[in-house]
Amino acid sequence: MTGAIDLATVWAFIIAFAVFVYVVMDGFDLGLGILFPLFPKKEDRDVIMNSVAPVWDGNETWLVLGGGGLMAAFPLAYAVLMPALYTPMIAMLIGLIFRGVAFEFRWRVTQGKRNRWDVAFAGGSLLATLAQGIALGAILQGVHVEGRHYAGGWWDWLTPFSVLTGIALAIGYALLGATWLVMKTEGPLRDKAYHLCWFLLFAMIGAIGAVSIATPFLHIQYTQRWFSWPNVILTAPVPIAVAAVTVLLLRSLANKWDYQPFFLTLALFALSYAGLGISMWPYIVPQSITIWQAASPENSQIFMLFGVAALIPLILGYTGWAYWVFRGKVKAGSGYH
């Protein structure tokens, strides 16, 4: 039994890791899509697209690993959550379709039609982001489960709280996108992105605050997890670290540094994500199904563990290499395209 418990925990961390890598990697390229309407110049848009064109496909693959891994390691959770999140999931997929094809299609058409695919890129990115944020909120607020099935309606996911998490994620991705542009571009484009960073950082701090305040009201368990003695000793460092990273971020922006804003924003994401984990643990469907109840049989989890242990380091290796190949600032008119 202890063996099974350990395995489920290991897999909970692996799925959480895959989803986190997805959030930070696809987060910044979805953020670029959200910021797209603010950069109407063709040259700027070409540079923005070129800054991620060689890597976005790999970024998005982590979403497939998160979903596929969930089905393999926690099939019950996958079977309950996907119908519960039906509409946001369909919306996310449709958003990702428009966003994904825009990377290729906008280079294959004349100027007039290029605007059409620019709209698809921006709209698809925003739709996918809102859907992901709303899905996150819907998971946190819990879903109605009976037996091994989702038993709620197909609009249960839509609440003020899930709308709040949707908007919060859009702000967060936009900040990731803006700091990415500060790192990868130069000249007026970089200046514009830099100014956006200030605005988006304050918006993100506000969003983190709003979600943090709202979450404990969802369930008494969340309140106890965060504020009861002695839990507070373990949970208090999270908001303190958020404050510290925010200060560092403000300083790096004030100094107009290239790289720090992006990586410190990643740190903010990591801390918010850790906060989510603290709230949810050990539930995979909050207040209904724990990771042990949802876990696949031991032999399925062990079979996959070999693959993950051997391949994830390799994947991170060649992904890192691909980023290295396309390192440095992207210049106008000399993109990869």
Partner: protein
């Protein structure tokens, strides 16, 4: 309005629709990725400019097709959860790891090296770039390995047990992965992908030869594609026959549906060439049959008895007309491909390969034949498995999500609108790329935009090598 259209039927329609759109792109990109690797290898080996021009020409087409395959594939992977949640719960412990391995060993490999393949020729050097191309090609094949293993397990489940929660669990992973129909299905599908690509490449070559028979690029691609059709189409027909025998052994009801065998035959079954299967009446109307040939093909004996659907409860019957017709379409395409291959061999021997307008027009007309055959084959195998999701074990009606019909209907309509809007645009862009012949100094993806070159461009490099 949607009378009889319950959530399960709608979910099946959605899966069929999204799958039909999806499968043509991987079928094309599996073949094209290998073709690109061959072209780049030939360029590195011979230094002839025509190969790098062809490489860059097809690379642009690959980029567009691959993008469409990726986005439609993500829809597939999430659809198991949204529309088939009971299936996900019950088979997740077996199917889930196979698909997780597909992501880990194939999708990441393709995606990780795709950027270098598309945009990195001047950044990493020729050899490293070739390795990236090779990795993408290998990734597409590994992907086919895992997804066909998962699909084959649903067709011919093996190596499993059922636990207290009613979930399938693996008893023996090797038996799960290498289940009885998997090797046949994998070979059949990969060959189909190669043929599909060859017929498109051949048609594009033929199209440009019809306008100007002296173009070097179209000559090379036409010749290479026709070799593929000549050599692989007959192999595919043999592989298909072997796959059929395997299906007869493990999924006899599917064969009965494909062959239109409503009635059992004690001493030699006919081969029904054409006819109108009538599911309700339980017979094939206006059947054109060859006596005894059915038994000869399936049992390799003229008088071998063959059981029919009358030995199977009606509630276990697949939709016979669909399986019957889609199978005939696939086989018909296969023989047309072999015909094209043989004709091209004849023309090659006569020395008219680049001059025969008739041959070129035939090859041009065959452009979509691979896609049609792949789609028809997929329809045959998937409808032939009905009414089961996991053959004989889990009924399709028991595998769907507990969703209301309006939810599934809305998402189906949304997918139909989005797919037609997005993918018809994509197909137009593909056709536009194909309408221009590959030319001297062909550039990779991006075309009109100057490349980030540190001096040397691929074409200049090739010319330098070629003249050196």
């Amino acid at each position: 309005m949607f009378e009889g259209w319950d959530a399960v039927v709608l979910a099946r329609a959605q899966f069929a629709f999204t799958m039909s759109f999806h499968i043509v792109f991987p079928a094309f990109s599996i073949g094209l990725a290998s073709y690109l690797a061959v072209l780049e290898a030939l360029w590195l080996w011979t230094g002839r400019e025509v190969f790098i021009n062809l490489f860059n020409y097809w690379l642009k087409i690959f980029a567009v097709a691959f993008g469409m395959g990726v986005v439609s594939g993500i829809v597939m992977s999430y659809q198991f959860g949204t529309n088939w949640s009971v299936f996900s719960d019950k088979t997740g412990p077996v199917i889930g790891p196979l698909m997780a391995y597909e992501v880990l060993t194939a999708f990441f490999l393709e995606a990780g090296f795709l950027g270098v393949m598309l945009f990195g020729l001047e950044r990493v050097g020729h050899r490293l770039h070739f390795i990236a191309t090779l990795m993408v090609a290998v990734g597409t094949l590994i992907s086919a390995f895992w997804i066909l293993s998962a699909n084959s397990w649903m067709q011919t489940p093996a190596g499993y047990a059922v636990n207290a929660d009613g979930q399938f669990v693996a008893a023996d992973w090797l038996k799960v992965i290498f289940n009885p129909s998997f090797p046949y299905r994998l070979v059949h599908m990969v060959l189909a992908a190669y043929l599909t690509t060859a017929l498109v490449v051949g048609a594009v070559g033929a199209f440009h030869l019809l306008r100007d028979r002296h173009l070097a690029g179209p000559r090379v691609m036409f010749s290479m594609a026709m070799w593929m059709a000549t050599l692989v189409a007959p192999i595919q027909i043999v592989a298909g026959d072997q796959h059929g025998l395997n299906t007869l052994e493990h999924q006899p009801v599917k064969i009965m549906a494909m062959e239109g065998h409503f009635e059992s035959h004690k001493d030699g079954a006919p081969l029904v060439l054409f006819g109108l299967p009538d599911q309700a009446a339980g017979k094939v109307k206006y059947a054109v049959e060859v006596p005894k040939l059915g038994s000869l093909i399936l049992k390799h004996s003229l008088d071998a008895p063959l059981a029919g659907l009358d030995t199977v409860p009606r509630k276990d019957w697949p939709p016979v007309p669909i399986a019957f017709w889609s199978f005939r379409i696939m086989v018909g395409m296969g023989f047309l491909m072999m015909g094209l291959g043989l004709l091209s061999l004849w023309a090659r021997w006569r020395g008219t390969l680049y001059h025969s307008r008739l041959l070129h027009m035939f090859a041009l007309a065959m452009a979509p034949s691979g896609f049609i055959a792949v789609l028809a084959g997929w329809v045959t195998t998937e409808t032939g498995r009905q009414p089961f999701t996991v053959y004989g074990l889990l009924r399709t009606v028991d595998a769907a999500s507990p969703l209301a019909a309006p939810a599934v209907a809305s998402s189906l309509i949304a997918f139909i609108i989005v797919y037609f809007a997005v993918f018809s645009a994509g197909v137009i862009y593909l056709l536009r790329l194909m309408a221009a012949p590959p030319h001297h100094g062909e550039r990779g993806p991006g075309g009109d935009v100057p490349a980030r070159a540190a001096g040397i461009t691929p074409a200049a490099g090739a010319t330098a090598r070629g003249t050196a």
